[in-house]
């Protein structure tokens, strides 16, 4: 018997209620996996309904927390590891929206491919939990945990279509390049820890507040910032760290591409806001030009390279890079007032953009998923010839999403683009605002190209032949695309409530 006095370990105080949006998702994932493994296949749509229910519950809880935070002000949870502020809740809600819409699409997709099973949904839920952790992390290690939780789920999802070798290839590519970039991120975090003595963002800020006036140049810290930015730029797919996107989006199952393009990017942008705006306001003169250049390159590469694509999924991948450029314009304008009590219009414009973009990109990939038929490979631009005569309603919905992505008025895309450009102009970043608008003209060409192909081109023989086979879709797909189109138009016409809500995204927990 060894009886030694042991200092009792006291865990941090945990506010379970405040963490409930996250916990609901994790619990649902575990429940789905366990129950799904132990029971015979569920009736059609069963897994999707549970997933949608969990995402909805999580979003509702986040909205309730939103009210609490509005009343009591931002704070941190779990011994300062997770921040509990409006920004975290906004990103949580956006990710939940993505999960719900994608789960409905996936149900439709899996029925067509005869691949039904709970794994997709559990992975979505886990990925979403990881994404929420990224967007609300107040500690760099927690942030990295979130990144890995999200990424691992996405690697598997990308390769989830077991019968298509392209899906396997996509998963493998994403895994190799993803871990490559994760290494950058982790190394960056380690260097920042070395320079500041903590990974906690609150303490990093406090340390820098004291040290920056004394010692401006700190090679350790600057290298760390550079490496962290490489890692995060890879996750948001900002050019030139975008190279994986076209291949992975093209190869992954269409609903998974939708999820990666929406929830994955939202989470990564949430993390980027945490790292740059919240943790490193004192180094903003160093990183702001980098954001400027990333925005510029993303805008140009995203729009120009899309012009020569002949595959709709690749086209959408490049267009998502162009969108990333737009969001970076918002981050760039937020940088002007990083660290101030009121951080200005930048972060709210980023929030609105991400929510609007999430919905319309899921809608777009959703239509592609249905159009690509049971093999999930009829995604060339030519296979969309005469799509409007085959599926007029779907073609109208796709047109709405594409016009929204082009930023046509009376769609959410216009409100979103207007918001970031307005923020940039307000902070006098005229040059990047101008470039953003110019590239959106080039990008409009590629959206119009799809629209013209759908409505004005006669179908060729091959697509006529394929027209009948495997293009039917179930109510879940219809519902998902209908909701997305409705939201896109509704926000375009009545944007006030969303803009008002996003206006509060100016205070962060530290």
């Amino acid at each position: 018997m060894i009886a030694q006095p042991v200092s009792t370990f006291t865990g941090p105080e945990i506010d379970w209620y405040a963490l409930s949006p996250l916990l609901v998702l994790v619990a649902a994932a575990v429940a789905l996996l366990v129950a799904g493994a132990l029971t015979p296949p569920w009736p059609k749509g069963g897994y999707a309904i549970v997933t949608v229910g969990a995402a909805t519950a999580s979003a509702v809880l986040a909205i309730i927390q939103w009210q609490n935070i509005s009343d009591d002000g931002p704070s941190t949870l779990v011994a300062g590891a997770v921040s509990f502020d409006l920004s975290a809740m906004f990103f949580t809600i956006t990710i939940c929206v993505a999960v719900a819409l994608v789960a409905l699409l996936t149900d439709d997709f899996l029925r067509r491919q005869a691949l039904d099973g709970p794994e997709f949904y559990a992975l979505y839920l886990v990925a979403a939990a990881g994404g929420i952790v990224m967007a609300s992390a107040n500690d760099l290690i927690v942030l990295f945990l979130g990144v890995e939780t999200l990424s691992l789920a996405l690697y598997v999802l990308a390769a989830a279509d077991r019968r298509r070798s392209k899906s396997q290839e996509s998963g493998l590519k994403y895994f190799v390049l993803g871990s490559f970039s994760s290494a950058f991120l982790l190394y960056g975090i380690a260097l920042v820890y070395g320079a500041t003595g903590s990974t906690n963002i609150t303490r990093v800020v406090v340390y820098l507040q004291e040290s920056v006036p004394l010692e401006r140049f700190d090679a350790l810290l600057l290298t760390g910032v550079a490496l962290m930015m490489v890692g995060l730029a890879f996750k948001i797919a900002a050019a030139p760290f975008h190279v994986w996107t076209p291949d992975v989006y093209e190869g992954a199952p269409s609903p998974v591409s939708a999820f990666m393009a929406s929830a994955g990017k939202v989470a990564a942008f949430g993390a980027l806001v945490r790292v740059l705006i919240v943790a490193l306001p004192f180094y903003r003169e160093d990183w702001q030009p980098v954001v400027w250049v990333l925005a510029l390159v993303s805008l140009v590469v995203g729009s120009v390279l899309a012009v020569v694509q002949t595959n709709v999924k690749r086209l959408l991948a490049y267009s998502s890079i162009n969108h990333v450029g737009f969001v970076l314009v918002g981050i760039e304008s937020a940088a002007h007032r990083a660290g101030a009590v009121d951080s200005g219009p930048g972060v709210p414009s980023v929030g609105v953009y991400l929510l609007a973009y999430t919905v319309m990109v899921i809608g777009s990939f959703g239509v592609v998923a249905i159009a690509s038929r049971s093999g999930d490979d009829a995604t060339s631009l030519d296979s969309f010839r005469g799509f409007a005569t085959r599926r007029p309603v779907l073609a109208v919905a796709f047109t709405v999403f594409l016009l929204a992505q082009a930023g046509v008025p009376f769609t959410s895309g216009f409100i979103a683009k207007f918001g970031v450009v307005q923020a940039a102009v307000e902070e006098r970043s005229y040059a990047i605002a101008l470039i953003a608008m110019l590239t959106s003209v080039v990008a409009a060409f590629l959206y119009l190209r799809i629209i013209v192909t759908m409505w004005m081109s006669e179908p060729d023989d091959a697509s006529v032949e394929l027209a009948g086979a495997g293009t039917s879709n179930s109510w879940t797909g219809t519902l998902s695309i209908g909701l997305a189109a409705g939201f896109t138009v509704a926000v375009g016409i009545v944007p006030g409530w969303l803009l008002d809500a996003a206006d509060d995204l100016t205070q962060f927990a530290r």
Binding site: K173, V176, L177, F180, S181, F184, F217, A219, L222, T223, V225, A226, L227, M229, V230, A233, F234, P240, F241, V243, W244, P246, D247, E285, D286, W287, P289, V290, V301, V304, L305, V307, V308, V442, F445
Partner: protein, 637 residues
């Protein structure tokens, strides 16, 4: 009822929407009655508003109803506001009154037409636009109506668009009107830049208070006159109106005689303080354009053989009289003539429609004759219209035309002489028309085969539905002059009614030679009219005098031909050149940018060949770039 003045345009709007939604289901003739009912309802509200205004003290007779803020853009604040004052209510009264009668008539006239409900859809839309035009409190609302009536005019002229000539005439009207609209728009911009408002109240007050520079007032007035020339078919932009007769006859009566074409006169009356303070050449120009147009069109009408074309040129001529009145400061006379003209010209057009209907779509007067025997009601009402337009006392046209000539003489004898000669011509060509259609010998029998009637073709009287409006309008044409008689101040009823609106701009003729001898002028005008009638009677009925119809008049002085040649020749070359420039330089530039983008993209995508090592390489290079920036540029340097 001035506070519910919005109801006046609301009824036709309601009619338009309902017919748009359920027109086909309602079907003939229900749609027609419904549309007519909407016009009658508008008329009732107008009458109510009229009595309301009458009961008010004179200086309070202007009620502005702001429906909502229409264009709130920083300093440009434009409300959708309606102005109920004596001028606008006068316009509303005859637009809705005559409009309702013509709607009723059209039920009979359009019987059996495949697009019956669409016709009434357009008519209600037209009424809505016209009422907005006259009720608007600012230039922009008026412009909304202005463009609306233009669109409806286009749609209705080209109503039978499968006929090549109808489609062409519609396009011609639309394009010619654009020239005038250009003037209207520039006037709006000028008004806004000068006083920061396009409201009539602000403009007229600024003019009356002398706050408006003469040059500004001149500019606005002259540009609005350009707009008025286009809409009211004056020289040099009249060419579209004769061609507009391709439309169904009720349209000619409503739009191209009674209401829309008077919009220009209305607009100039509305801004009479502006004309008053602008440079002298503006009213002089208006008067001369008016009187020359009046003479020109009357001379052309002498040699036309199409029953509707005579009336079309006659309309241009009568509008010229109204512009003459505006130019000589006789705004009351202009409105007076506008009202009486609405009565008798609508009557004449509807009468001609009745004739065309009875003649099975024959419009050439040379194939008519002696129709009074077969179409007694049409003949009698048409004769009333004839006497009214010719200016035989005591019919309506006599009084209004005389009033205009009185003011013309007070301004300049030259204007008076041309005006009087025009009156002679008017009496002449109208007598010619009446004789050719209703008197002389019956010439229609020789053309019976063309109608497929094989010998037993007989023109017939129109149904009662079409005759009722004729009778009502004939009554109005007889007594219409009673609203403004020259005998004493008490009989100047229209002048008293319009006084608050035209107070500032109305010319003062008290003490001039013309005014002192106005009874002499009355007699002279009556004599001239009778001479015109007598001469025409001798020529066409008695055949005592030779027929004089020179080709130059029949071809309208070759004016239309010259324009067609200019636009078709050098004009067309210029359009081709513009089109070439657009195709090669503008499009070429755009396509060039697109082409270079595409090439650039082809180059850019080369490194992205899909191999993981290439991707990793690009990411690695990016990482190096970032490190160099942070460590070397920001750190060490």
């Amino acid at each position: 009822m001035t506070d519910v003045v919005w109801l006046i345009p609301a009824f036709p709007l309601f009619g338009f929407v309902l017919i748009l939604l359920f027109g086909r289901r309602l079907g003939e003739p229900l749609v027609g009655y419904f549309a007519t009912a909407m016009m009658v309802a508008s008329f009732v509200v107008s009458v109510g508003a009229f009595f309301d205004l009458l009961a008010m003290p004179e200086e309070e007779r202007a009620n502005i109803e702001t429906l909502f803020s229409w264009v709130p853009v920083s300093s440009l604040q434009v409300d959708l506001a309606l102005l109920a004052d004596p001028l606008s209510i006068t316009m509303c009264l005859f637009v809705t009154g005559v409009g309702a009668l013509i709607h009723l008539y059209a039920i009979g006239y359009m019987h059996g037409d495949a697009k019956f409900s669409k016709f009434f859809l357009y008519l209600n839309l037209f009424a809505l636009s016209m009422l907005l035009l006259v009720l608007g409190e600012n230039l922009l609302v008026t412009f909304l109506g202005w463009e609306g009536v233009g669109t409806c005019s286009y749609l209705l002229i080209a109503f039978w668009h499968t006929r090549e000539s109808a489609a062409t005439a519609g396009k011609k009207a639309f394009i010619t009107n654009r020239v005038g609209d250009w003037g209207f728009m520039l006037a709006m911009f000028l008004a806004f830049s000068a006083i920061g408002s396009v409201s009539y109240g602000a403009l007229n007050e600024a003019a009356e208070a002398g706050e408006l520079a003469t040059s500004t007032a001149t500019g606005i007035a002259a540009l609005l006159f350009v707009g008025a020339i286009g809409k009211s078919a004056q020289l040099p932009l009249y060419v579209w109106l004769p061609d507009a007769m391709e439309g169904p006859t009720p349209v000619s009566a409503l739009i191209h005689a009674a209401t829309m074409v008077t919009a220009g006169v209305f607009l100039l009356t509305r801004i009479n303080p502006l004309i008053e303070v602008s440079a002298d050449w503006v009213p002089t120009l208006i008067a001369w354009v008016g009187v020359i147009t009046a003479f020109f069109a009357a001379s052309v009408a002498v040699a036309q053989n199409d029953i509707k074309r005579v009336l079309a040129y006659s309309t241009v001529s009568q509008l010229g009289y109204m512009f003459l009145a505006v130019g000589t400061g006789a705004y009351v006379a202009a409105i007076f003539h506008m009202v009486t003209h609405a009565f008798f010209k609508a009557l004449l057009f509807l009468g001609s429609g009745s004739v065309i209907h009875g003649m099975h779509d024959e419009q050439d007067m040379r194939r008519m004759g002696l129709l009074r025997k077969l179409m007694p009601v049409t003949a009698i009402t048409f004769i009333v219209g004839w006497l009214a337009i010719a200016g035989v006392p005591p019919f309506a046209g006599f009084w209004s035309k005389d009033e205009i000539l009185l003011f013309a003489l007070a301004r300049s004898p030259a204007l008076y002489v041309v005006g009087l000669v025009t009156a002679l011509l008017t009496a002449y060509y109208m007598t010619r028309q009446v004789v050719m259609v209703f008197f002389g010998e019956a010439r229609w029998e020789s053309h019976a085969e063309e109608h497929g009637a094989r010998g037993d073709f007989r023109p017939h009287e129109s149904p009662a539905l079409m005759l009722l409006p004729l009778v009502v309008l004939a009554g109005a044409s007889i007594v219409g002059g009673g609203i403004q008689l020259p005998f004493s101040d008490a009989t100047h009823r229209l002048e008293q009614w319009l006084h608050p609106v035209v107070e500032f701009g109305e010319a003062e003729i008290e003490g001039t030679w013309a005014n002192d001898n106005k009874y002499l002028l009355l007699v002279l005008a009556a004599v001239v009219t009778l001479v015109g009638i007598a001469v025409a009677w001798m020529v066409y009925q008695r055949r005592r005098l030779p027929v004089v119809e020179p080709a130059v008049l029949e071809q309208a002085w070759y004016y239309d031909r010259a324009i067609t040649d200019a636009v078709g020749g050098p004009g067309r070359q210029a359009f081709e050149a513009t089109s070439w420039f657009d195709r090669n330089v503008v499009d070429g530039g755009v396509n060039g940018v697109a082409w270079s983008l595409r090439n650039a993209a082809q180059e850019l995508r080369k490194p992205q060949n899909g191999y993981v090592r290439a991707s990793a390489g690009i990411i690695g290079m990016g990482a190096v770039g970032l490190l160099v920036w942070f460590v070397v540029v920001r750190g060490i340097l």
